[in-house]
Amino acid sequence: MLARVANNLFWMGRYIERAEHVARFMNVNYFSSLDAPNQLSQSRQFVLRSMLFMVGDPVHDESLKLNEPDILYDIGLNPEKNYSIINSIKVARENANSSRDLISTELYESLNKFYHYVMNYPTDTFVKTNLYDFTVNITEMTAVLRGKIRGTLLHDEVYAIIMMGVNIERAIQITRIINTKYNDALMAKGSYGDPIGNSFEWTTLLKCAESYDMMRRLYKKSPNSTSTLEFLLLNGRCPRSFMNCINQVYKHILEIDKKVEYAKCSTAFMVGKIRAEFEFKQIEEIQEDIQGNLNLILNKMFKISENMENEFFHY
């Protein structure tokens, strides 16, 4: 596969995945805040700030009053903001365009339809009444795209590159979401026992990761900070967990780099090392410094991505 095209496919995977997480985060946070148990969590300003924090554009001025339609527009449909959903879909399609000969007609057609759907979405209705409709459709359509990636492509190097992109982005987004909700929990404390550990925000966090039901099935208790973090970071069977993402990334890098012994600077070596570290990690170790550890994870994922550019995408 051409190095340039591999680069494009990698980023197509990343942007499809990114659009989904941003859409779901908006949806879950906005709608669960409407009947949240404490006042702060119910506050619209709190939710909007949380959204901006998640997309990487945090508001530091506490007295600033945010305008809801503006913020929703920025994150959803503003083509000028590089974190917006519309921009992610645009870039995903652009990347697909330049590798159209390698992906299936079915995948391209779905992505193309998705693009036109987002491009033609009426801004007015979106910010006033259709936040739910829009964000749900984004998550549905990205699921369709993942289905087409999985179901219509040859499971070879092309597939592996796309899936590397998807899983690296998922690990990054999940970590960002955890970080954001941890930040929220620090502010919107629970009303009994350990105020941070029992915050309502942990439930929201699980829902943001589409993992609430399965977490309840496994732990059979209301989520608290420890169980939620353990589930989302270290449980390899939870499809959205960091552990699962890094397992997937490892599986796919072996498809691309088929050497028996890896050079220490290779991406395969790097991914394997991170995976080994987290396989035997305890949640208590992470809890010693949650935000510090989340940032470490993020940096590791950025490093992997960077390393891939140097190793495979050089043209």
Binding site: M1, L2, E109, Y315
Partner: protein, 488 residues
């Protein structure tokens, strides 16, 4: 009173005197080959048809088979206009077209070899040397280069029309980077999706075998000493208007679609940069114009090409299809010599007719042209895409004077032909919500390989959508139709 829903789709079709209608005879009867089709379409209401038309359009749109229109603020995507009423060519007529297209392509190939080697045809006084020496498309770099399997014009697009006398004439040969074949396949797909029922009544040749045959023939012209050649398609990039076609062909052949920056040349061999390191490339199907393929040899500002590609080609280490320098054989001045070229190299009579052409470079013919501007089509010799053409009977007095002055100033630049009346075909016109006569031509696609030839059984029927217009190029607002070649 009839409501719109009661109207059948041909109820308001008007046949104009003097035009050759592909579907109706002069007395108004339907030609036998179209009878069944007309019964099937005729039973539908306009509303039905509009519905199907809309669906077919959205199918094109969703598949991303579009081109960009640049507006004030944002660029817009548009689909190429497509008509759901197909054109049918019966097997006997097709045989002539197919044989004629192969004959022309082979003769032009001989011609190219000759003009880049001994120039016998010039020495024998058939083609004047000035035509070559004054042609901007003649590449001196190609002198004495032996392309693998001696083939230059691997892929030819021959534009053929049917005149009001009922005969086919060749209007133009395109042997540089002819495009349009992907639309042949898309049109078929769209028609099958919308009106699959009609295919039960006709035995139509497939067009989806093009890519397979193309790859076969490209592999057959591999450089000597290569066992299983690696082929690639090279494109100027995704902003090129034919990018969809480039990506389609690469996908359908299962080969890489590369840009200039993906390739490099080392020791006169060509490599592509892959995730697993360099991979040698043997055959390049290029969709980049001559002057841009290699900045070291041609246009030094080209960012689209591959430095050193031409040197590798000259060494025989890579095949370029079509070969550089083919443009010298498809310009409108050489066109007029094609009948002689066929006789000279193949010792055969031309199967497809040429439109009679007056060369403004010859003084007596120039005088005739100047005296008869009103009855002639005057074309620049070296422009493609329907630009710069003037059609005599459409011009005002002032315009005629302007054309005369221009031709007089640059006689070598122009040729003139009698105004050919392209045949007309019923075509659905959106604004009118009805079928009307529109002029059509046919672009056929011929592929030459090592001792083998292939003509796609079908082709692109291009339609001039403006009423009365004779220029069918898509850049001039043309549309297209699916084209059925029936089995014997």
């Amino acid at each position: 009173m009839e409501s719109a829903t009661d109207k059948t789709i041909f109820s308001s079709y008007v046949r104009k005197e003097g035009l050759f209608d592909e579907v109706f005879k002069n007395n108004g009867d339907v030609k036998s080959v179209y009878q069944k089709l007309l019964d099937l379409y005729g039973s539908r209401s306009i509303e039905d048809y509009v519905n199907l038309n809309t669906k077919a359009k959205s199918s094109f749109f969703n598949q991303g088979i579009t081109f960009q229109v640049y507006g004030d603020k944002q660029s817009q995507e548009k689909i190429f206009p497509f008509d759901l009423f197909p054109r049918i060519i019966d097997p006997k007529e097709w045989e002539i077209i197919e044989k004629g297209a192969i004959q022309r392509s082979l003769a032009l190939n001989h011609f190219l070899w000759d003009v880049y080697h001994d120039k016998k045809i010039v020495k024998d006084g058939i083609v004047p040397i000035e035509l070559l020496s004054s042609s901007p498309n003649y590449l001196h770099q190609m002198m004495d280069v032996d392309p693998p399997s001696k083939i230059y014009n691997h892929i030819s697009g021959t534009d053929i029309i049917k005149h009001s006398d009922g005969n086919y004439y060749v209007l133009e040969d395109n042997i540089r980077c002819p495009s349009g074949v992907s639309y042949v396949i898309c049109n078929r797909t769209a028609l099958k999706r919308a009106l699959f029922g009609v295919f039960n009544h006709y035995k139509t040749h497939t067009v989806t075998n093009y890519a397979e045959n193309l790859l076969n023939l490209l592999e057959s012209v591999k450089p000597p000493g290569v066992d299983s050649p690696v082929c690639v398609v090279i494109t100027p990039g995704m902003f090129n208007s034919a990018y969809y076609e480039h990506s389609y062909l690469a996908k359908a052949m299962g080969v890489e679609l590369v840009e200039g920056r993906d390739l490099f040349v080392e020791n006169d061999f060509v490599y592509m940069k892959t995730t697993q390191g360099p991979v040698r490339v043997d055959v390049v199907y290029r969709r980049v114009d001559d002057l841009f393929i290699d900045p070291m040899e041609f246009n030094p500002d080209s960012a689209l090409g591959v430095p050193g590609l031409f040197a590798a080609y000259r060494k025989g280490n890579v095949t370029i299809a079509n070969a550089p320098g083919t443009g010298v054989a498809d310009d409108k001045a050489i066109y007029t010599y094609v009948p002689e070229i066929i006789k000279y190299y193949l010792d055969e009579e031309p199967i497809l007719k040429n439109v009679h052409t007056y060369h403004c470079s010859r003084p007596d013919e120039l005088q005739y042209v100047l005296d008869h501007v009103k009855e002639l089509v005057i074309k620049p010799v070296d422009e493609a895409g329907g630009y710069g053409i003037s059609i005599g009977n459409r011009l005002t007095k002032d315009e005629i004077e302007k054309v005369k002055a221009e031709v007089k100033a640059n006689p070598r630049k122009y040729v003139a032909q009698p105004i050919m009346s392209l045949s007309v075909h019923p075509t659905y016109i959106d604004e009118k919500e009805s079928f009307e006569q529109r002029h059509v031509d046919l672009r056929t696609f011929t592929v030459l390989g090592h001792d083998q030839q292939f003509v796609l059984k079908g082709g692109l029927t291009r339609v001039a959508l403006k009423e009365g217009n004779l220029i069918v190029n898509s850049s001039q607002g043309g549309g297209s139709k699916d084209t059925w070649v029936l089995k014997q």
